[in-house]
Structures are given as structure tokens and as C-alpha cells.
């Protein structure tokens, strides 16, 4: 198979549809929890606490946190889809089905990443629908919004794959989400503007890549951002290229999947 022939595209489609049917098959574990968790965020942080916080950057607290909460679910789900699916395929050795077949390595990578992107976007849509029950949703810039959500889910889907390649046991696939992803997301400006922080912590926050994604998405959502949107998009782009290159190298070398 060469990269752009029909057979390769069929193989890619097979991987993507396998990934999509996987998370639909276990929708109670994959699609329902974000809807419930994010509803709780909206009720507790948005309605109960938010009513006492007042306005941020000229909009209500509920409106302010909505893009961050949507982005949080996109990040978590695109990452966890690929890390669990790829590791599970390694664990059950069903990854060998692909390794013995003539699917180009790039398409194995793309298949898993697109699977993760689709789940990230789908949960993003679900959470947006939940959010629409609490706030009026009026999109500022659809182009930026869609672009950022696709890039971010692609980035975290790829990061999930890299994690899964190195993982040797199930504990290893929860370490990064628990100890790195969740703290960075919470500290990434989901619930507050970094302008509310002392100057030192504002500077520290700029080292958090998730801050750029949340703010770029918030810009597309409501036109508000703590970060220059071009800087944010460039940073996301650099991260994606770096991670895709790393993931491709790992798969092509067979690290973690071939003896």
C-alpha cells in the first residue's frame, strides 16, 4: 500500500470506524460521564458559586467558565480515548492485527488520532448542549472555535498515544491524566482569568500550555482571552507537530509494540 492509494484509505477508515464503534459500544463509560460531570460543574461553580462571583471581563461567571469546561472535556476525552484504546490493544495483543497487515504506520497513527479527535469533539458537543441549558450560547467566532477544538483534540489524542506506547500496565495510563493533565487543566484558566493572579503567578501560568488552548477556545466562544490568539495557535501547532513526529517515530520503530 502506498500512502494515498485506495487500499490505504480503506485501512484508515477501518481503524477509525473501529475506534468510533469502540467508544459507542461503551457509551456509558465514555459519553455519559462528561455530560453528568460537566452538569455538576455548571450547577455548582456556575449557578451556586458563580452568582456570588459576579462578572468577569464583562460577562457572567457562568458564561466565563463555559468554554473552559467544554475544552476540559475535549482534552480529557480525546486523551483518554486513545490512551485506553491503544493500551488495551497492546494488552490484548490485538494491535498485532494491524502490525501484520500492510497498513502504513502513518495511517495507524492517524486512525487512532482521528478516533480520539472524534470522541473529543463529540463530548464537546454534548457538554455544549448541557451548557446551553444553563447559559445562552452566542458564538463569537466559529472559525477560531472549530479550528482550536480540532487542533486541541488532535494534540491530546496524540499525547494519549505516546503515553500508551510507553505504558506497561494499566496504572501507567492513569498517571499522566491524574498527576499532569488534570492539575494543568484546572490551573489553565478554566475557572479564572490569570489577570486575577499576582504578577508572579501570571508569569508561571504562561508556562502552562493548556492555558493557551483554553483561552484560544474562549476567544472563539466569547471573544475574550488572556493570551494573544496568534501566539496560542502557534504554540498548539508546534506541540502538535512535535508530538505527531514523536508518535510516528515510536510506532515506526515498534517501541513498546514490537520485540
Amino acid at each position: 500500500m502506498s500512502l494515498f492509494d485506495k487500499q490505504s484509505l480503506i485501512a484508515l477508515k477501518s481503524i477509525v470506524s473501529k475506534e468510533i464503534s469502540r467508544y459507542f459500544r461503551i457509551w456509558i463509560q465514555t459519553l455519559l460521564p462528561p455530560a453528568i460531570t460537566m452538569s455538576l460543574y455548571f450547577v455548582i461553580f456556575g449557578q451556586l458559586i458563580g452568582s456570588r462571583v459576579g462578572m468577569i471581563e464583562g460577562i457572567s461567571y457562568m458564561e466565563y467558565i463555559t468554554p473552559g469546561i467544554i475544552m476540559m472535556s475535549v482534552i480529557t476525552n480525546s486523551y483518554s480515548n486513545v490512551v485506553s484504546s491503544f493500551f488495551s490493544a497492546k494488552f490484548q495483543r490485538s494491535i498485532e492485527e494491524m502490525l501484520v497487515s500492510p497498513v502504513p504506520t502513518l495511517y495507524i497513527l492517524m486512525g487512532y488520532v482521528l478516533g480520539g479527535v472524534s470522541r473529543g469533539i463529540l463530548t464537546g458537543v454534548i457538554v455544549t448542549l448541557v451548557a446551553s441549558q444553563f447559559v445562552e450560547i452566542d458564538i463569537f467566532n466559529w472559525g477560531v472555535l472549530i479550528f482550536v477544538v480540532i487542533l486541541t483534540s488532535m494534540l491530546f489524542a496524540t499525547a494519549g498515544l505516546v503515553n500508551a506506547v510507553f505504558a506497561r500496565k494499566f496504572d501507567d495510563i492513569s498517571i499522566v491524566p491524574t498527576f499532569i493533565l488534570t492539575p494543568l487543566t484546572y490551573l489553565g484558566g478554566v475557572f479564572y482569568s490569570i489577570k486575577m493572579l499576582p504578577e508572579f503567578w501570571q508569569t508561571v501560568s504562561l508556562a502552562n500550555p493548556i492555558l493557551y488552548m483554553v483561552n484560544a477556545f474562549r476567544y472563539g466562544f466569547s471573544g475574550i482571552s488572556d493570551i494573544n490568539i496568534i501566539h496560542a495557535l502557534l504554540l498548539i501547532g508546534v506541540f502538535i507537530i512535535s508530538l505527531l513526529t514523536l508518535a510516528y517515530y515510536l510506532l515506526a520503530k515498534g517501541i513498546g509494540i514490537r520485540s
Binding site: 480503506i10 485501512a11 477501518s14 464503534s21 490484548q92 495483543r93 490485538s94 492485527e97 501484520v100 497487515s101
Partner: protein, 305 residues
């Protein structure tokens, strides 16, 4: 000149822990052959298969499948191969139908063709009735057949089976034998590894034996079997002889109260043995080899220093 189905030259594999699994093995498999690749546990059989199917990275050497080098034409080589691995390696949560259709997709078969081929191979392996069941719920024998069905979905020219009958009952094993014979008769080259030497003797025309990462024997099954100098038979008799002599180099030995063992050199005919027993009014009720002939040779070859 006809290209070989498989050509392996000076293949070496050293794992990260410095274990040298293959020390430069070379052998060829002709198109249409049915060859047994035998060896004790850890001899290097699965490593060899893993390298051919690109599940294991080789350290050195060359492998080509129907003339396609795995170094320069990997995808073309992969397209020729169907692999039935030793361990179950499908998603436990997918149905038999999904597993086969997905595998067909990985080989680039269009959806319509994939569904058609899936039906064919599931029916061929008597799994069509189970097509909607999750692989997790299948019996061990059915899982083995599912792996064969999956390996055949893209019509491979060479089928590699790594202990395909391990843990299945004799009835399923024999039906698999019949299936593999028919498949080979239709032109599919088959490479079989097994610990059931009777299976290898029954099915294979040629044999390669690996010991500690080296090929110690690569010949036809007929040639190998002919090297057996002595065969031991067990005779079930209706009464025991009074004495256990050696007649014309055939030595009698009591096995239990109703059977005797005789060791027969290959150049000696059995007529004299039967005559001697008949003269003493002893009837032979049944006769069998004490052990499989190939097994006797295999033990002899692999135990030699």
C-alpha cells in the same frame, strides 16, 4: 525459475537482555509446501515467525516472502502472509464478524468484498452461526478457528500457524488437520509449528528443526523418518509368553500383564516375530508404535550435544 514462498538467510535476533534467540538461521520454503518448523520451547520458532510477520525486529539477515524482501517491500510481503499466532490476539469485546471485517479492512478490502469474504471464511471454519457473538464468549476451539478465519480473509499465499491446535480436543484437531490439508492442496503454502509431533508427521512434507537458535535439520519428512534405526512396538496379546528372548535382533520385553514390547531394527521384517508367537499359541490382538516415530527422532536430535 519459480520463486520460493519463503527465503530466510542468516537471520539473527538478539533481544535487549542479550539473549541470542536466533544465531543466523537459513532455510527456504517452496511454493505449495507444507513444512513443519519444530523445536523445544525457547528454541526460536516464534521469534522466526515474529520476524517474518514483522512482529519482531530482526538483528541481522534477510527474509523474503514470494520474492518480496521485508526490508524493501514490507507491505507486499505482508500481503502474502496469513498468520495464526500462538496466543489469542483479538479484541475480546468485538464480535466474530467485526473482527474479520476489520482485518479485511486493514488489508484494503472494500466493505462489500470484506463482508463477502467474512461470510466465506466464517462458514469455512464453521463459525457463521457464532458471527454475532463476542470473541470473549467463544470456546477455546472456536477461538482457534476464528484466528484461522481471520488469517485467511485476504486469501494469503502462505499461511503461518504457530501451534494452532494447542489446547483443543482431538476431534477439533483432526477437523483442523483435514481443513489444512485441503487448503494446502488448493495451493496455499503452509508453515506449521507444533509440539504435537504426530500432527507434524501426519501433515507436513518437509521439516526444519531449530535448536537453541540454529537449524539442526532441514529435510523431507520421509527422509527424516527413514533415519530411525529402531522402532518400538507394543503388542496387546491374549496370553503372555513364558520367555522373552531376542530373535534375529528383535528383543521381547514384558510391558504389563497383557502386552509386550518389541524393539525392531529397520532392516528386520516382523514375520519372524509373528511366527514365533503363533507357534506358542499367542494371538496378537492389536499392535501400535510405542511412541510417535517423529517424536523418537526429535528427542534424539534435540537431546544430542
Amino acid at each position: 525459475m519459480t520463486v520460493n514462498a519463503l527465503e530466510i538467510k542468516n537471520l539473527k535476533k538478539t533481544y535487549g537482555n542479550s539473549f541470542e534467540a536466533l544465531k543466523g538461521i537459513s532455510f527456504n520454503v517452496e511454493q505449495g509446501d507444507f513444512i513443519a518448523l519444530l523445536g523445544a520451547n525457547g528454541a526460536g520458532k516464534s521469534t522466526t515467525i515474529g520476524i517474518i510477520c514483522s512482529l519482531v525486529n530482526k538483528t541481522a539477515g534477510q527474509v523474503s516472502v514470494f520474492g518480496h524482501s521485508i526490508d524493501s517491500e514490507l507491505e507486499a510481503a505482508k500481503r502474502c502472509i496469513g498468520l495464526v499466532p500462538q496466543e489469542f490476539n483479538f479484541s475480546q469485546f468485538e464480535t466474530c464478524h467485526q473482527i474479520i471485517v476489520n482485518q479485511a479492512g486493514y488489508y484494503g478490502l472494500a466493505k462489500k468484498v470484506a463482508i463477502q469474504r467474512t461470510e466465506e471464511v466464517l462458514k469455512l471454519l464453521s463459525l457463521w452461526d457464532k458471527r454475532h457473538e463476542r470473541s470473549f464468549d467463544l470456546s477455546g476451539g472456536m477461538k482457534r478457528r476464528l484466528m484461522i478465519a481471520r488469517a485467511l480473509v485476504h486469501n494469503p499465499r502462505i499461511l503461518i500457524l504457530d501451534e494452532p491446535t494447542a489446547g483443543v480436543d482431538i476431534e477439533i484437531r483432526r477437523s483442523m488437520w483435514q481443513f489444512l490439508r485441503e487448503l494446502n492442496a488448493k495451493g496455499t503454502t503452509i508453515v506449521l509449528t507444533t509440539h504435537y509431533l504426530e500432527e507434524a508427521e501426519q501433515l507436513c512434507r518437509n521439516i526444519a528443526i531449530i535448536k537453541q537458535g540454529e537449524i539442526i535439520e532441514n529435510t523431507s519428512m520421509k527422509d527424516l523418518i527413514s533415519r530411525l534405526d529402531i522402532e518400538t512396538f507394543v503388542l496387546d496379546v491374549d496370553k503372555m509368553p513364558q520367555e522373552f528372548p531376542c530373535i534375529n535382533n528383535v528383543c521381547f520385553k514384558k510391558r504389563d500383564e497383557s502386552s509386550i514390547e518389541i524393539e525392531v531394527p529397520k532392516e528386520v521384517a516382523l514375520n519372524e516375530v509373528f511366527s514365533w508367537l503363533t507357534e506358542r499359541g499367542i494371538n496378537v490382538l492389536s499392535m501400535r508404535n510405542k511412541s510417535n516415530r517423529l517424536e523418537a527422532l526429535f528427542v534424539q536430535l534435540t537431546e544430542e550435544e
